[in-house]
Amino acid sequence: MSSQPTSVAVRPDGTAARPTAFQRWSVPALTLAGLAVLLWVGQSGALTKYTQTVIMFMAVNVIVSASLNLVNGYMGEFSCGHGGFMAVGAYVSSVLGVLLFAKDRVFGPPLLPPEWALVGFPLIVLVGGLAAALAGLLVAIPSFRTRGDYLAIITIAANYIVISAVENLDVIGGSRGFMGMKRVVKAMGRAWDLPWMLLWSFGFAVFTLWILRRFVYSTYGKGVMAICQDEVAAEIMSVNTNRMKVAAFMLSSGLAGVAGGLFAHIVGYVNPGSFGILKSTEALVMVYLGGMGSLSGSVLSAVLFTLLLEALRPLQIIKWIVVPLLLILLMQFRPEGILGNRELADVFPGLRRFFRFK
């Protein structure tokens, strides 16, 4: 994905002042600080295992909502099959992980020494993402000629295709699900005793935001916003809209696959049921809660939504009455979401003095 920040070229009057050292390093420093805090949290046992899991789910949800925002927010399409792409990523990385680094009843002894999981884990998550990106073509290619409601229906179909395919693959457990990922995570812990899942979830969330931010702020990525507004005008401005759609859908679904891979390894168990239309709806709610076309909104809403789901856990099934109700109330009283299509730095311009994130 070429995403050089050529946008800087369009500043002949020199208004794009060079970032100060503080602005340049604040985000990397914060990221490192975040990792350090998580490391301490994991090692000291300051937070319970449950709280740690919630933090990991937050990170996964940040990836899910930010990646869906690329398609639904920035590109203005209505994709409601994000869960399907998570499933692809989850299954591919889980199967790979168990195959390579863990003893399994079906797959037999690990193909590689389990300690290698230390290096192998991020790679299998990325491979899962890659597989999900390829699955994204299922939606990208129909999008050449279809948009709006019809494309939305196709995305739902894609979700069901993935789920049914998994349900009918007995090798990976079919509808009973697939497990063994805990052994991969344990293998990492044995090789070097760190809270790996906490660190990787956080790391991948930051990676997702970084890559999406670079994408949408590059001249290349502006093609996505052009498609959102007027496809014909985009074409006459030399944007190859079909290629752009493929890029956006694949990036979005690929990142969803990464989220799925992380989710599978956090929970240690996946079954096709957890990536159905309900999961896709969760993703949609997060995007619309945060604001379409706002990455910081997506982060905010993912964090809030995860907390909300946990808070509503005692309600059990009634939760699924409360959550859609919230969506209805949101659409009634604040249809643009928390941040609309603005970023946090647009709402609080003072923040700009402290960071640059490109």
């Binding site: 369009v10 502006k222 093609g223 916003m225 052009a226 959102c228 005008a233």
Partner: protein, 241 residues
């Protein structure tokens, strides 16, 4: 000839919009296509841009050639990239959500990393100083005239050598109209070839070198614009006297 349109026939469903239109545009020229509503002017321009249906119908007969080669199989984004022809569409179709600067940046999509971008931006801002003042504004907040300037500026940012203009004077105050045409004249002097579609025939004929009069899908008169301006038929039908 830079651009040759030969016997172009296009149909919207069963309705034939152009019944065999032929004309040429030479390098460095300003050629205008005038005619009443529904004459087929916009259809001609959209066909040249190779926009797919439903924007422009498929070419049923005839040919469109650029520098001697047929461009019927060229994709619309490649018309801009490879042939360097850019359209300023009717109704402007700027990206209202984006700022002026972002609109101009977007037009450089196909030439990312080209150092000429900075020079072209300066050229656009010199041509339309108003755009420089408003460069951080969302473009939907601009006035109609400013939006038209942005549409022309955006086309220029693609690095085009041929400018296809569809009704650039539509809905502009007289002062802005003249400002717009002064800018276009300057561009032509700098070597940009212009094909102008206009309803305001008097203005178009004063500006262009050669003109074609289009009437319900046919060319009914053509020639140097001073000839057309003195042609009794044209005067009566299009110049109101």
């Amino acid at each position: 000839m830079l651009l040759e349109i030969e016997n172009l026939v296009v149909r919207y469903g069963s309705i034939e919009a152009l019944h065999g239109v032929s004309f040429t545009v030479d390098e460095g020229e300003v050629v205008t296509l005038i005619g009443a509503n529904g004459a087929g002017k916009t259809t001609t321009l959209l066909s040249i841009c190779r926009l797919p249906p439903p924007e422009a119908p498929r070419v049923a007969e005839g040919d469109i050639r650029f520098a001697g080669r047929s461009i019927l199989a060229v994709e619309p984004h490649d018309v801009v990239r490879a042939l360097k022809m850019a359209l300023v569409p009717e109704g402007r179709r700027i990206f209202g959500n984006l700022t002026v600067e972002e609109n101009l940046e977007l037009a450089t999509y196909a030439r990312r990393g080209d150092p000429g971008v900075v020079k072209d931006l300066e050229r656009v801002f010199q041509l339309f100083p108003r755009l420089r003042e408003r460069r951080r504004q969302r473009s939907e907040s601009l006035s109609g005239g400013e939006q038209q300037m942005l549409a022309v500026g955006r086309a220029l940012m693609t690095g085009c050598r041929v400018l296809l203009l569809d009704e650039p004077s539509m809905g502009l105050a007289p002062v802005l109209k003249y400002e717009m045409f002064r800018a276009l004249k300057r561009l032509n002097q700098e070597g940009v070839t212009i094909l102008l579609v206009e309803q305001n025939a008097a203005l178009a004929l004063k500006f262009a070198h050669r003109g074609y009069v289009l009437d319900t899908g046919r060319i009914v008169a053509e020639g140097p614009t001073d000839h057309l301006l003195s042609n009794e038929e044209v005067k009566r039908a299009y110049l109101g006297g």
